[in-house]
């Protein structure tokens, strides 16, 4: 029934009306003879039922959700390159279970084979001895380190996680285009695609009986748990990320949270006493298993790449004594070299005694004279790749090159033939993809993942599909292609429910979050707290300034003081304070919106928000999704108005109002949804220190040298410090300096006062982990205590008294003390809890003469 809908002459309403499979290309959904393939009928039927408008609406919502969740290749911008959101297609790729089983069986064989190759090359080297493989595979590899030889691997296994890039040729057969054996990318994105797509098409998802992804991750957890050298019940497993600058950081954080592992960077780990430790606030905690997400060359600066900053110095020595295991084992990258593909059929015969179940794309290694001749003769129809895929070199298409470039390539091939392979180019199959004109056939690339489990490999029933209108574009990396698709493996049987949570029979030990917070994460949370509070303080002050500037009663003196505070905060050039106000006032009106949105000015509001967004993306495995969304939305919403509105301060005022609301939402989430562990404590500590400091800067700039008619100034200060309501309820309309100072400085019941911040700071410091010197008061406690005492002992009437010189010396003294000590307090907290290690350095090496 559905079939007739799809292949009958298109009615304008259906999404597939314009779908024209290409000639000479296999189409995943349509058979040229019989029309829509059976396993696509449920999905296509459902899409047609929803209709184009509804599908587009849902797709649009899904895109928005992806943007809100910040699913990117690189969550924050490095070197000015904008992070690119993950583009998900509206249509998943559907594969029937029977065909899928064949694919996974073939890939399981391939993964086993790669593991055997590694065991041999790092062991008896029979493949070299018997001349099945040329020694170039090992010793000619630019990433070869002799240190990989003789390293113990988890239970002898080199390859734990493997990914294969597949293409389907016009004859309907699947080919392996490439292998990934280092730290394959894309698992987290496959998960996220599944979650988004199943939310977008819930009915289709249910009716198609799609195999669930969770069992794969359960197998993965079991594998990683079982390879732990000791404490196999509950070993500490660390997902070792390259760090926030890497394009895989989103996925790393996502996987770590999903699998329940600690996300760590090289800097969070240390080698002591011949073991690997996680540096936490509470001290060092032993690590059993490292799930690496970085290249092996970068894992240990002592014995491998000395220029790496992502490694753990001394790791190889710990691996040798089997006190920690790492997977994939070090050195696995050898077998993903395209050169290996050229020899794989004979290796399979030699090591397994059976033929390869799924062929690799035809590959010629130019290091063999006959192969080189073949490649040169057929250059235009081949793809040329680096034989070792060392630096992710892009593939070359000589057929599309200019004569000059082509001649250069031939020269390079002849000079160092052993560095290149030629590969047949495959016209990939097409599958339905969503376009503005409806669903169209786009070329598809499929990445499959396999994890070692028990004695074999288990495949993720799904994977990551990438689609593009041009087949060539999919040959390069995971980031090439236009969009990705979820992969649905449709089952014949009903689907079992699997969850990553412990089975009901198993008792889980009760725990309270303790001190196993990595110091770096605490540091980031601390600064996130400071930046968010700084943004709030700045926004409040700016709002006051703008409303005073445009207000009915313009007090130049009040404005002058406010500009001074703005300059003090680095939001305005100090010139505006020095020059005569009358001449500069119109300029300030124009300059201020510029200054607010200027990301290059280090302390502008925009720069502060950028920093907050950066920090929240780094600690995203520690904050709730909602909290992340709030910051992300701020990042998007708080943009300089364009066009006519650009200089209109009322637009800026509206933006500031909105910003404050969103910042309060973040504060509320932190207060209401974060457990009171060390993470929350550092976030709040940062916030309190920043707020107290901001308030002292405000008071010092506005009240220490009072203006003549102080009433409007006091009102402005109360407004900026968000305490005007409290003041009014206490003192009604009487504006006097002493009660204002009492409320903003001393009163510990006012959550906006400096006294209140100091009280909270003190109690936080009391709760932080203590070392062996617990009896002695620590430096940061000393600073906090001295400040708190100074505030408590202050006599408000003394502070408010104006001397003959026209200033308030007691107030000035107290606020100056704060100005000096809050930065010191922040540094003291940093150096005590957060800076565990400086940069490691190499010994100046030397040689004889």
């Amino acid at each position: 029934m559905t079939e007739s809908v799809s292949i009958s002459p298109p009615s304008p309403k259906t999404l597939l009306s314009g779908y024209q499979p290409l000639t000479g290309v296999y189409d995943e959904a349509f058979d040229p003879n019989s029309g829509l393939r059976p396993h696509w009928q449920t999905l296509i039927g459902e899409l047609n039922r929803l209709g184009p408008d509804e599908v587009h609406r849902r797709w649009h919502l899904a895109q928005k959700q992806i943007a809100n969740d910040g699913i990117t290749f690189n969550p924050y911008d490095m070197g000015g390159v904008a992070s690119r959101p993950w583009m998900l297609d509206a249509v998943p790729l559907v594969l029937p279970e029977l065909e899928w089983n064949g694919i996974t069986e073939s890939l399981g064989q391939r993964a086993r084979l790669f593991d055997l190759i590694l065991r041999d090359l790092y062991g008896p080297q029979n493949l070299l001895r018997e001349r099945i493989l040329p020694p170039d595979v090992l010793y000619g590899h630019p990433g070869f380190y002799p240190a990989y030889h003789g390293l113990p691997t988890p239970e002898g296994q080199y390859l734990t996680l493997y990914a294969a890039d597949l293409a389907r040729a016009p004859d309907g057969r699947w080919w392996v285009m490439g292998d990934r054996t280092r730290a394959p990318f894309g698992l987290g994105h496959s998960l996220e695609n599944r979650i988004t797509t199943s939310r977008m098409l819930p009915q289709a998802f249910r009716h198609c009986k799609i195999q669930r992804l969770a069992p794969f991750f359960v197998a993965m957890q079991e594998t990683l748990r079982d390879i732990a050298p000791r404490s196999r019940d509950n070993p500490r497993i660390v997902l070792w990320s390259k760090g926030p600058a890497s394009r895989a950081y989103f996925e790393d954080a996502y996987l770590a949270r999903y699998l329940g592992y600690t996300l760590a960077e090289g800097g969070d780990l240390a080698v002591r006493e011949n073991r690997v430790w996680l540096k936490t606030l509470g001290g060092l905690l032993p690590v059993e298993v490292l799930f690496r997400r970085l290249d092996e060359d970068d894992c240990d600066a002592v014995e491998l790449n000395p220029n790496s900053h992502t490694g753990v110095s001394g790791l190889l020595e710990v691996l040798r004594s089997s006190n920690v295991v790492i997977c994939n084992a070090l050195g696995t990258r050898l077998v993903e070299s395209p050169i290996v593909q050229a020899f794989l059929p004979s290796i399979s015969q030699f090591l397994l005694g059976e033929p390869l179940k799924m062929p690799s794309v035809a590959t010629w290694w130019c290091g063999q004279p006959e192969a080189l001749e073949y490649v040169l003769k057929n250059l235009d129809s081949l793809v040329i790749r680096n034989a070792f895929r060392h630096q992710n070199e892009p593939p070359l298409h000589p057929g599309q090159m200019s004569d000059q470039k082509r001649a250069e390539l031939v020269t390079r091939l002849r000079a160092r033939p052993e560095l290149f392979v030629g590969q047949e180019s495959v016209v990939r199959s097409t599958a339905p993809a969503m376009t503005d004109e409806g669903i169209a056939p786009w070329h598809v690339a499929l990445r499959s993942f396999l994890i070692h489990h028990d004695d074999g490999f288990v495949a993720l029933p799904g994977g990551l599909a990438r689609v593009s209108p041009e087949s060539d574009l999919l040959d390069f990396t995971m980031t090439s292609g236009e969009r990705s698709q979820d992969v649905w493996v449709c089952s014949e049987q009903p689907i079992e429910r699997v969850s990553l949570l412990a089975p009901p029979g198993e008792t889980v030990a009760l725990r309270r979050s303790g001190s196993d917070l990595p110091s770096r994460v605490a540091d980031n949370l601390f600064w996130l707290g400071r930046q968010v509070e700084r943004a709030e303080g700045n926004a409040r002050l700016l709002r006051t300034v703008l409303s005073t500037m445009t207000g009915e009663v313009q007090s130049t003196e009040v404005l002058q003081r406010l500009f001074r505070v703005l300059a003090e905060q680095g939001q305005l050039d100090p010139d505006f304070v020095v020059e005569g106000l009358r001449t500069s006032l119109p300029a300030v009106e124009e300059v201020l919106p510029e200054a607010i949105f200027d990301p290059t000015r280090s302390r502008s509001l925009r720069a502060t928000l950028n920093e907050a967004a950066r920090l929240v993306s780094i600690v995203r495995d520690r904050v709730s999704v909602d909290a992340w969304r709030v910051i992300h939305r701020i990042d998007e919403d708080f943009q300089k108005p364009t066009g006519r509105a650009a200089t209109d301060t009322s637009d800026v005022q509206n933006l500031l109002d909105q910003l404050l609301t969103e910042l309060l939402a973040f504060a509320g989430l932190a207060q209401e949804s974060m457990t009171r562990g060390q993470g929350w404590r550092f976030l709040d500590l940062g916030r309190r220190i920043e707020r107290a400091w901001q308030t002292s800067v405000l008071l010092r700039g506005t009240l220490a040298f009072p203006i003549e008619e102080e009433q409007p100034m006091l009102e402005t200060v109360l407004q900026t410090a968000d305490s005007i309501m409290t003041y009014r309820t206490r003192y009604l309309a009487t504006m006097q300096t002493a009660p204002v100072l009492d409320l903003l400085l001393v009163d510990e019941t006012n959550p906006r006062s400096i006294g209140y911040q100091l009280q909270v700071i003190e109690s936080h410091l009391e709760e932080l982990p203590r070392g062996e010197h617990a009896a002695v008061i620590s430096p940061e406690q000393r600073i906090a205590l001295s400040l708190r005492n100074a505030v408590r002992l202050a006599v408000v009437t003394d502070l408010a008294r104006v001397e003959a010189s026209g200033n308030r010396p007691a107030l000035e003294r107290l606020l100056k003390q704060m100005d000096d000590r809050f930065p010191k307090l922040s540094d003291a907290v940093s150096s005590r809890f957060l800076i565990h290690a400086g940069l490691s350095r190499h010994y100046g090496s030397f040689s004889g003469e």
Binding site: P146, R272, S847
Partner: protein
């Protein structure tokens, strides 16, 4: 010939160092011409963790970690060794070099697998056309391998200027070759690059050289040097022959080998990282004392 070799390395830091991880290669490897009578490495302050193993090339590697604050480290390696003279060889009677290259390429040489790692590029040495051109002057077709290699060694000694200021430990082989200046490490790298570029396996040897004082001066303790030279593969019969391009000679009883590798990066005497430390100073002294 017997020697007592004392090799002392001192690091001093302006600020305390909390942790350091080190890997040292300071232990002479016994071989057909070398016996190690006694050997020990003393590290001060005493490391928390020490271990010893043989690396991929068969060198004896010691690793240690010091995990408490320290402002200086002293590593003293003391070895007593006995070196036999090199066997006398008729250079003109060795195999033609291109025959060796061919049987390695055909993988018919019985040692092709053991030697092949020394034919490839290594971290500090890449095979280049310029090295081929330079080597070809000595390696004329069918010339006996040792004769050609000794000729190459002499040319490097003659055409390169010994200059301790011209290069550093990190100078690339290419640039040392371009300026034709440097120290033993550079000369060894250049010669290896030439040999590998024409297909011969060649390796880097680190060790010590006995220095003979001028006739009227006493021997100065600690004034000797750690040294480096080259070994070239001369076919399955003869195996590896050590040549010293810095002194234009075949190595015999004046040379005490410690370690072999593809280039300096495999055998650097001390490698490691440390945390903290501020500015640091380094002093090295080597003493090669002949014994009766």
């Amino acid at each position: 010939m017997r020697y007592k070799v004392t090799h002392t390395t001192k690091y001093g830091y302006s600020e305390p160092v909390g942790v350091c991880h080190n890997r040292v290669i300071l232990t002479p490897q016994a071989g057909p011409r070398l016996r190690v009578l006694s050997h020990r490495i003393v590290v001060r302050p005493t490391p928390q963790i020490t271990s010893r193993r043989n690396d991929f090339f068969g060198n004896s590697v010691q690793t240690f970690s010091i995990e408490e604050n320290h402002r200086q480290i002293t590593i003293t390696s003391t070895s007593r060794v006995e070196v036999d003279p090199a066997p006398t060889l008729e250079a003109a009677g060795t195999l033609p070099w291109n025959q060796i290259v061919k049987s390695l390429a055909d993988r018919t040489d019985p040692l092709w697998l053991e030697t092949c790692i020394y034919q490839f590029d290594s971290p500090r040495i890449s095979r280049e056309a310029s090295f081929v051109d330079y080597a070809n002057v000595s390696f004329t077709p069918n010339r006996p391998v040792l004769e050609a290699a000794m000729h190459l060694t002499s040319r490097i000694k003659k055409e390169f200027t010994y200059d301790t200021k011209a290069t550093t430990v990190n100078t690339s082989t290419d640039s040392a070759f371009a300026i034709k200046r440097g120290v033993c490490q550079d000369f060894a790298h250049v010669e290896i690059a030439c040999l590998r570029s024409i297909g011969l396996p060649a390796r880097y040897v680190s060790g010590y050289l006995r220095t003979t004082p001028p006739p009227d001066k006493p021997r100065l303790v600690g004034a000797d040097e750690s040294h480096a030279w080259v070994a070239v593969y001369c076919g399955p019969e003869i195996g590896w022959i050590d040549l010293d391009p810095t002194n234009d000679c075949l190595c015999s009883t004046d040379h005490v080998p410690v370690a072999i590798g593809r280039d300096y990066s495999d055998v650097a005497p001390i490698k490691g990282v440390f945390l903290g430390g501020g500015a640091h100073t380094l002093s090295v002294s080597v003493d090669v004392a002949p014994e009766e």
